[in-house]
């Protein structure tokens, strides 16, 4: 039992934090937010060069995504590395890794997976409308569940072959699209019977990936709130000396630490294939979703009027918290799963 991060994992965190402090400041996030795609693909390439697309295990993915959340990385790292990657791995469990997985690891492709609805496959061509696909508009490939005759399959389609309608989203740096396929050429990914396992992996690992990111978001909002409460004076004293403020900050810390515990444990549990991996993932997503939203909302409250303005960064974190909390099952949905798995 080693209940701390290894030296390599700590070095990974420190190196990435340094990169992001230089290359992913709030100014960078705002620039991405104002761009046509809401995404910074140059940053994605830098992160791929740094190694985030080819990590030794999912504990490392958790470390990376926590830092990405902290810095509000406006690039499809969660969607590609945290959610689609595990699906591609599960699609070819013991054979050669799928070519798209190799391309993802080498930074040559940005695949994302559609998790709502499914298409139909006929003679190597796919048709259908798949809603709410995160970051499809900046992906190179779309991984889609399709009905192939009777069976469920997973196929890869080049993004250029799909019609992608991007919606404006509350978190402008994580857009959602409706993907329409009208006979796009598709390649079956992995073993033919592996689609359910692959989609399950996207859900399982994806929940942990989002939880990790949300922990980073929550930490950043707590740091901001505390820094402001130490400086801002009203009635002649720093507002952080009032218990109405300081106790709310303590509540944020308590919620965050609980979520952090669940996220760290779950990242290990899904990596190790622990018996309670599914339960751990559900706990992690439920705890982190609630903690991140609570912390981001509290941060705005602690900041008062300035925290409610567009120019202040507090809302960027709230919007990312909501994007993560709503995706791949809300806290309530995961609690429903927990009740099933804990044997109520």
């Amino acid at each position: 039992m080693q209940v701390a991060f290894s030296e390599d994992q700590q070095a990974l965190r420190a190196g990435l934090r340094e990169l992001l402090e230089d290359r992913c400041t709030p100014a960078h996030v705002r620039r991405a937010m104002g761009s046509a795609t809401g995404s910074d693909l140059e940053l994605y390439r830098l992160l791929a060069d740094f190694g985030v697309t080819d990590l030794p295990g999912f504990v490392e993915v958790g470390v990376v995504l926590e830092e990405c959340g902290r810095a509000l990385v406006p690039a499809p790292v969660v969607s590609a590395v945290g959610i689609c990657g595990p699906a591609l791995e599960a699609a070819s469990p013991d054979g050669e890794p799928d070519e798209l997985l190799v391309a993802l690891r080498e930074g040559r492709a940005i695949p994302v997976v559609a998790l709502e609805g499914e298409g139909t496959l006929e003679a190597g061509r796919v048709r259908g409308v798949l809603p709410l696909v995160a970051e499809a508009h900046v992906a190179t490939h779309l991984v889609l569940p399709v009905i192939d005759g009777e069976a469920l399959s997973l196929v890869a389609v080049e993004a250029g072959q799909a019609q992608i309608e991007v919606a404006q989203t509350m978190d402008a740096t994580r857009r959602l699209s409706t993907v329409t396929l009208d006979g796009a050429p598709a390649r079956v990914v992995g073993r033919p019977d592996s689609a359910p396992a692959a989609l399950g992996a996207a859900q399982l690992f994806g929940a942990v990936a989002l939880a990790s990111e949300l922990v980073g978001v929550a930490q950043a909002t707590l740091d901001m709130a505390v820094a402001y409460a130490r400086l801002r004076e009203q009635f002649g004293r720093p507002i952080g000396s009032y218990q109405a403020i300081s106790h709310r900050c303590a509540d944020m810390f308590v919620a965050l630490e609980s979520a952090r515990s669940h996220a760290y444990y779950a990242a290990w549990a899904v990596t190790a294939g622990a018996a309670d991996a599914e339960l751990a993932a559900a706990r992690a997503k439920a705890a982190a979703s609630d903690a991140a939203v609570f912390c981001a909302e509290s941060s705005i409250q602690v900041h008062g009027g300035i925290g409610f303005t567009w120019e202040h960064d507090a809302h960027l974190y709230l919007k990312r918290a909501r994007a993560g909390a709503g995706a791949l099952g809300t806290a309530a949905a995961h609690r429903r799963r927990i009740a099933d798995l804990m044997g109520v």
Binding site: M1, Q2, V3, A4, F5, S6, Q9, V59, L222, V226, A229, R230, R237, P238, G240, S241, Y242, Q243, I245, S246, H247, C249, A250, D251, F253, V254, E257, S258, A259, S261, H262, Y264, Y265, A267, W268, A269, A272, A274, R283, A286, A287, A332, R335, R336, I338, A339, M342, G343, V344
Partner: protein, 391 residues
């Protein structure tokens, strides 16, 4: 980050599991919460269990062997705690000794004090209690007024302590006194080990809202404490007391979480008995409790890394905040699920022998004892987050 046992740890876990299986009463772990409801029965069970643990060499597992400990790693201590929790093993009786007095003596005691007190503390032959709070000094511990006046090689102690759990069973009391009325508030305190059998010590039971006299008022009237029973120097009392409190909120949290798991298991069983286990609203609440209880378990594991580097940190206050909240919430929910029967303590309409009513009422104390919610939030805000002092 790897929660997998190494081969050595796995072997140790097997050994613990086998020992627990052989030494707990037959069928012990089949009941969701096998602890006796009667306080005296519970005390006797815990006294017996402490002796079993001691004879098996499981107490003070991670304490140095020279003090009668097991010289084991903290990870092994955790494995033992986990396995004990899984079979719902009872808590040893001498919790104040094991989790508070013992670590404080290890940190501050002289070689003679360690040799004198630690072994009988582990075996449970000598039970300990804690004399910190006073009627006029609750959250503001530093304002305490129990006086200790030095006369030759003895301190004469006069004053009153309150909320002294186990005082009626205890041989010794870790006692914080004021030795210098002229010094600044926290500088005038001295930490003593008082003999509870001294003729100047009187223990009066204090009845709680449960109707049970679980704790006491303790009066000191010219009680004599020999100089050699001082922990640390005269005037070090506040620093020594902080060691005790960090252990109370940190080390003790491991034990508390075990109780929370039992309460949750019993609550799930109650929901089933009441035919409410399929109600989605009920399931949502139970899942929420599971989330908090398990979060506490993992947070405690993470705190290990800090413990290995030295004493528990102020983060232990956050764990205590989670524990008191979930423990209260679970018992509140049990009473709510019971509805009208939530009033009934005995007879055919009672559930679980009135245990839920006891746990519910006892739970009101959880957010007051060992640091109130408000004091603990101050500690998190000031010591962990670095916010300005709130006074």
């Amino acid at each position: 980050m790897d929660f997998t046992d190494t081969p050595t740890e796995a072997a140790f876990r097997d050994e613990v599991r086998a020992w627990l299986h052989d030494h707990l009463p037959a069928g012990w772990d089949e009941h969701p919460d096998p602890r006796p409801s009667d306080r005296r029965q519970a005390e006797e069970l815990r006294r017996w269990w402490q002796r079993e643990l001691y004879d098996g060499g499981w107490l003070g597992l991670s304490w140095p062997a020279e003090y009668g400990g097991g010289g084991a790693t903290l990870v092994e201590q955790v494995i033992f705690n986990e396995e004990a929790a899984l079979v719902r093993a009872p808590e040893p009786l001498n919790v104040i000794g094991l989790y508070m007095a013992g670590p404080t003596i290890i940190a501050w005691g002289t070689p003679e004090q360690k040799a004198r007190y630690l072994q009988p503390l582990l075996s449970g032959e000598e039970i300990w209690c804690q004399g910190f709070s006073e009627p006029g000094s609750g959250s503001d511990l530093g304002s305490l007024r129990t006086r200790a006046v030095r006369e030759g090689d003895t301190y004469l102690v006069n004053g009153q302590k309150v909320w002294t759990s186990y005082a009626h069973l205890a041989s010794f009391c870790i006692l914080v006194t004021r030795t210098d009325a002229g010094a600044a508030k926290h500088a005038g305190l001295t930490y003593l080990i008082a003999d509870m059998h001294d003729p100047g010590v009187e223990v009066r039971p204090l009845v709680q809202i449960t109707g049970d006299p679980e704790f006491n008022e303790t009066f000191f009237t010219d009680a004599r404490v020999p100089l050699e029973n001082r922990l640390g120097e005269e005037g070090d009392g506040w620093k020594v007391a902080m060691t005790t409190l960090l252990h109370e909120r940190g080390t003790m949290a491991f034990g508390l979480q075990v109780g929370s798991r039992m309460t949750l298991d019993a609550l799930v069983t109650l929901a089933r008995k009441l035919g409410r286990a399929d109600d989605p609203v009920v399931r949502d609440r139970l899942a929420g409790f599971h989330l908090e209880v398990e979060g506490l378990r993992i947070t405690n594991l993470r705190a290990l890394a800090k413990l290995m580097a030295g004493a528990p940190g102020p983060e232990g206050s956050a764990s205590k905040l989670v524990w008191e909240r979930v423990q209260q919430a679970m018992t509140e929910y049990a009473i709510e699920l019971l509805g009208t029967a939530g009033q009934v303590l005995d007879g055919p309409s009672a559930f679980d022998d009135g245990r839920w009513q006891y746990l519910y009422l006892r739970g009101r104390g959880h957010s007051i004892e060992a640091g109130t919610t408000e004091v603990l939030k101050n500690i998190v805000a000031e010591r962990v987050l670095g916010l300005p002092r709130s006074r």
